[in-house]
Symmetry: C2
Subunit: 215 residues, 2 copies
DNA sequence: TCGGTAAGCTGACGGCATGACAGGACAAGT
DNA sequence: ACTTGTCCTGTCATGCCGTCAGCTTACCGA
């Protein structure tokens, strides 16, 4: 899909170049986890990678450019999220299981990509279309599948006519994302991870089906 | 509650000083709305306020410090959110009305304070306790009230024993916050503002009461 | 083996933001 | 007019940004 990897000035990157490039990305990832986004400086990333700032600018236009790169890789990996909802049933006990596994998988993915997702959320909220697009790509797999499920149930008359499947699905996905990204916030409310998950699953089930789960 | 306004080097600020200080805060607010957080520079804020960077540093330790100030003012104003839930009924038609008004008020508040809330969310997600505290203060008024409502219904046996009121309330509040902060994201999913709100209200009602609303 | 060529890296530099300080401008009271 | 304390800014050392020319390294064909 993407062509060859190229430097900013148009040269094609060879083995060594790609390795350096990757090392810079890895170090940037680490820095994002350990210090506030606003304070991540090119020079720190370069130092950490054992190279010079000039090298950084050979591969990326700026910090944001490199962040986008990382985010795109992650978005590609997010394809695995689709498996959490694709072709699953939302009725009866199987539905409850679906809800639980979705919550579990989603939270796990979010926690694994914690740092970079924070930046993506910020960029998207600030109206940057490149970040919005990536955010969409990640959430879409889950979202569209959920919307389909709601629409299905609606067609069968098991969900009210006046609900908007896309709106419901979007809201639920946003809830998952919010809960995942502010997990610490919940502990201040006296809610532990382990308690949070089943309650999220309950809300997912309720939202999709409009009725209480049979466990 | 807070004592006198003081400069960084300990002097008390007089009328004129407070005015300058406030102007700097206002300009910073504007800048946060118009450019990415990462790119907001002291020198730009100062120029916009018709003063010099040195003046800025007289009143605030850095950009983050000033942002915290703005956020705290906003948190104080968020007390108005408490009125959206305090003492409201969650049963029958009144409950549906409560849900709608809560969604409406919350979204409006969030939209009004869009820019600063983005930064607060980021700071909190990055683990900065000062931002987490402010975030808590804003969400708490709604959250604790919701949790109380759930606990009430639970005591009356109208909600299952095994739900955790705090977890449910927190998740719902997070959903509202997420939906409010990424309103543009929904339009990419083909969901308009006007359609989104009733669906959010539906999810709120479902979450709190565990059953469908009677409209 | 030996250039030739392109990839890869860095030192160095002008430019700009940061953050500190000392001193000048200003308002208010005497 | 003088004093006092508040308020603002010119200036400076420091450090990061982003670019360039030029050096080193790897690869390849003859």
């Amino acid at each position: 899909m993407t062509g060859q990897v190229r430097t900013v000035d148009g040269r094609v990157a060879g083995r060594r170049g790609q390795a350096t490039r990757q090392k810079l990305l890895d170090c940037l990832s680490e820095m994002l986890s350990s210090s506030p986004y606003r304070d991540v400086k090119v020079i720190d990333v370069a130092r950490k990678a054992g190279t010079s700032p000039a090298t950084f600018y050979q591969y990326f236009p700026d910090v944001e450019g490199a962040v986008l790169e990382i985010a795109e890789t992650m978005a590609a990996e997010s394809a695995s999220l689709a498996g959490l909802t694709a072709g699953r049933s939302w009725t009866g006990k199987a539905g409850w299981q679906t809800a639980q596994e979705l919550v579990d998988g989603f939270m796990e993915f979010w926690r694994r990509n914690d740092a970079i997702l924070r930046v993506v959320e910020l960029g998207a909220a600030e109206g940057d279309k490149r970040f919005s697009k990536i955010r969409m790509k990640i959430l879409n797999s889950v979202n569209s599948s959920l919307a389909d499920s709601v629409a299905d149930l609606q067609a069968k008359g098991r969900v009210d006519k006046d609900v908007n499947p896309a709106a419901i699905a979007g809201s639920l996905v946003v809830m998952l994302a919010g809960a995942a990204s502010q997990q610490k916030g919940f502990s201040s409310w006296g809610v532990k991870q382990a308690e949070l998950k089943p309650n999220l699953a309950l809300l997912m089930y309720l939202g999709v089906t409009g009725r209480k789960p049979t466990k």
